[in-house]
């Protein structure tokens, strides 16, 4: 299972980085969200994929799953959600104001140094 996950994470990273390097703003935004998915999967895989128990430690003891990676991922998802929403709005606003969504064409418009 970990091997499969590693391959998936690698593919997501490759796709994400390819998209971030493209010129269109929307593609870049999608690329960053692929990247953040890849990191989330990486986080959950790092805690080793165990199944069959709840992440709750009872008084009786017994097996339980490490709850921390899940808590971390939940936090990271919320943050990623906010950031992605903001970047889409920013991309749209930039498109409206500059009249292009191509970053190459944004260069040298006014006082760029």
């Amino acid at each position: 299972m970990e091997v499969m996950m590693s391959i998936l994470i690698g593919m997501l990273f490759a796709g994400g980085i390819y998209m971030v390097l493209s010129q269109t703003m929307l593609r870049i935004v999608f690329g960053t969200s692929l990247l953040s998915h890849a990191t989330l999967l990486l986080l959950i895989t790092m805690g080793e994929l165990k199944r069959g128990a709840a992440p709750i430690l009872t008084a009786a003891g017994g097996p339980y799953v490490d709850p921390l990676p899940q808590a971390l991922i939940l936090t990271a998802i919320v943050i990623g959600f906010g950031t992605t929403a903001f970047s889409i709005v920013l991309a749209y606003q930039t498109y409206q104001t500059l009249g292009t969504d191509n970053l190459e064409k944004c260069r040298g418009i006014d006082d760029e140094h």
């Binding site: 971030v20 703003m25 870049i28 960053t32 990247l35 953040s36 890849a38 990191t39 989330l40 990486l42 986080l43 895989t45 790092m46 805690g47 080793e48 490490d66 921390l68 990676p69 971390l72 936090t75 990271a76 943050i79 906010g82 950031t83 903001f86 970047s87 920013l90 991309a91 606003q93 930039t94 104001t97 500059l98 970053l103 944004c106 418009i109 006014d110 006082d111 760029e112 140094h113």
Partner: protein, 496 residues
């Protein structure tokens, strides 16, 4: 002992931000509340500094969960110094913002965002949990994205988008680094990490995660070769905003580098800290050499941020008590002075309507206060003796001499000389010489927006004249950092 005192620097701005959003439509109420809040934060920070000045480390465990299980907040000398510096900056930039910021920005959540920015910064400075650090960093970055593009000028949007993407990518790598560290040590508490990482079976992976952290915070701190995003994005927003960014944002990255490379990743010092040293020297040189060819006031200052960050990273890389103390001193001095310079450039822009040095000239005749304030602050940056910059560089040189590291001495002196050169260049072009036709604003009284710049200039002079007192604080901070066992014992075992 866990004390609620510790979270004050986070709670005051957070509460203020919430209240400010309620008073959204009432500008006057917003302004009054903001000023009270930044003053309260400043007094609070000074109180904290006083409490840790005898070497105690203050702790707060969220919901009284003892570490390594709960989130710990820790204030040692370094944190207290940084919180105080950020509070001073918060106060001064607030004064400047209120006197220059346009109504449109003020009505569109500028003041709440300003407070949230300081929630993120102060949180990053006092947290003792590395995942919590990520959260506070994101709060800080999120507010900085909005502050950077607030107003939607063309340049702001273009540079804002690049800044956003670069920070999202580096935050992804931050999470990757956290994942690696967690799989090695099974904990997120910094003190606990410092105990458990040396016991990890695979030390190669520990060094790799150290390099990942260096990459992440190298981007935030703008060290060579990751500084490319900084000059243009700091160039675009209004001067008040670029002054806080220039003074504080990169320094938080440097603070985290100092924290993790003196506490957690000290297993392979010969490798990691040599890299830090080399990167620091390269950052200093590249940053300052680029300024020589620039003729834009704010762009020159932006490139100087990069070269000054190099001093701090170099001091950390030399890794002795004195050199780390020098790095901390330089960081404090730089937060004050760099902001002062940005504010001076903002006032210059206000009176001339441009940031191009070729279009200015002879401002000294009509604006003597502005000219001499800029001159003193610039000389402090260049390191002229009675001012603050001299002593931080002196400490770094002394550390270099003690360690027999003569490259560092050459770098400090050479880069200091070039810094002096470009500061003199600004002064000659903008303030000296023939008076050139400037923007016609007959009713504009520039003295109304001078206080912020004057305060920072005064603080810089005070740090210079009272250098021995500041030195005591800074040496205490460095001794605490170079003796990480103290931090670990306090955080992990103080509750017993």
């Amino acid at each position: 002992m866990s004390t609620n005192l510790v979270i004050g620097p986070v709670m005051i701005p957070l509460a203020t931000a919430i209240v400010l959003i309620i008073f959204n439509r009432r500008l006057l109420a917003q302004k009054i509340i903001s000023v009270i809040s930044v003053l309260a934060t400043l007094i609070y920070a000074c109180n904290l500094l006083y409490r840790v000045s005898d070497g105690t480390i203050l702790l707060f465990y969220a919901s009284n969960w003892v570490p390594p299980f709960g989130i710990a907040m820790v204030i040692d000398m370094l944190s207290a110094l940084m919180v105080t510096a950020s509070a001073i900056l918060g106060f001064v930039c607030m004064i400047y913002s209120l006197s220059t910021m346009d109504e449109g920005r003020l009505k569109n959540f500028y003041l709440p965002l300003y407070q949230m920015f300081f929630v993120g910064i102060n949180g990053s400075l006092i947290t003792g949990d590395i995942f919590n650090l990520f959260v506070f960093f994101e709060i800080m970055l999120m507010s900085s994205y909005v502050l950077l593009v607030l107003g939607s000028d063309r340049g702001q949007l273009r540079e804002g988008f690049k800044y956003l993407i670069i920070n999202i990518v580096s935050s992804s790598f931050f999470l990757v680094a956290l994942g690696v560290v967690y799989s090695l040590a099974g904990t997120m508490n910094m003190a606990d990490l410092a105990v458990k990482l040396p016991q990890a079976a695979n030390q190669g992976l520990v060094t790799m995660s150290a390099m990942l952290f260096l990459l992440v915070f190298g981007v935030k701190a703008a060290i060579f070769p990751l500084y490319f995003w900084l000059p243009n994005s700091y160039h675009q927003p209004p001067p008040a905003i670029s002054a806080i960014f220039g003074g504080l944002l990169t320094k938080v990255g440097v603070y985290v580098l100092i924290r993790i490379f003196t506490l957690i990743f000290i297993g392979d010092v010969a490798f990691t800290h040599s890299i830090l040293f080399v990167l620091g020297v390269l950052t200093m040189i590249f940053g300052v050499v680029i300024t020589i060819s620039q003729t834009d006031f704010r762009l020159i200052l932006s490139y100087h941020i990069i070269s000054q960050v190099g001093y701090m990273v170099m001091g950390l890389g030399m890794f002795s008590v004195l050199s780390v103390a020098g790095a901390i001193f330089h960081m404090l001095h730089n937060i004050i002075v760099k902001t002062g310079l940005f504010l001076a450039s903002g006032i210059t822009q206000e009176v001339t309507g441009t940031t191009d040095l070729h279009k200015m000239g002879g401002l000294l005749h009509r604006y003597p206060w502005l000219g001499w304030t800029f001159f003193i602050t610039a000389m402090a940056l260049a390191g002229v003796p009675p001012l603050s910059g001299f002593f931080s560089k002196f400490m770094l040189i002394q550390a270099g001499a003690e360690l027999g590291n003569y490259y560092s001495i050459a770098a400090v002196l050479g880069v200091g000389f070039l810094t002096m050169f470009s500061m003199i260049k600004i002064f000659l072009y903008a303030f000296w010489g023939e008076e050139k036709p400037v923007l016609d604003r007959p009713n504009f009284d520039y003295k109304k927006i001078m206080p912020a710049s004057l305060i920072l200039c005064g603080i810089s002079v005070c740090i210079g004249l009272g250098a021995s007192y500041v030195c005591d604080f800074v040496m205490l901070a460095a001794e605490q950092l170079m003796n990480p066992q103290l931090y670990i014992d306090t955080v992990l075992f103080a509750f017993i």
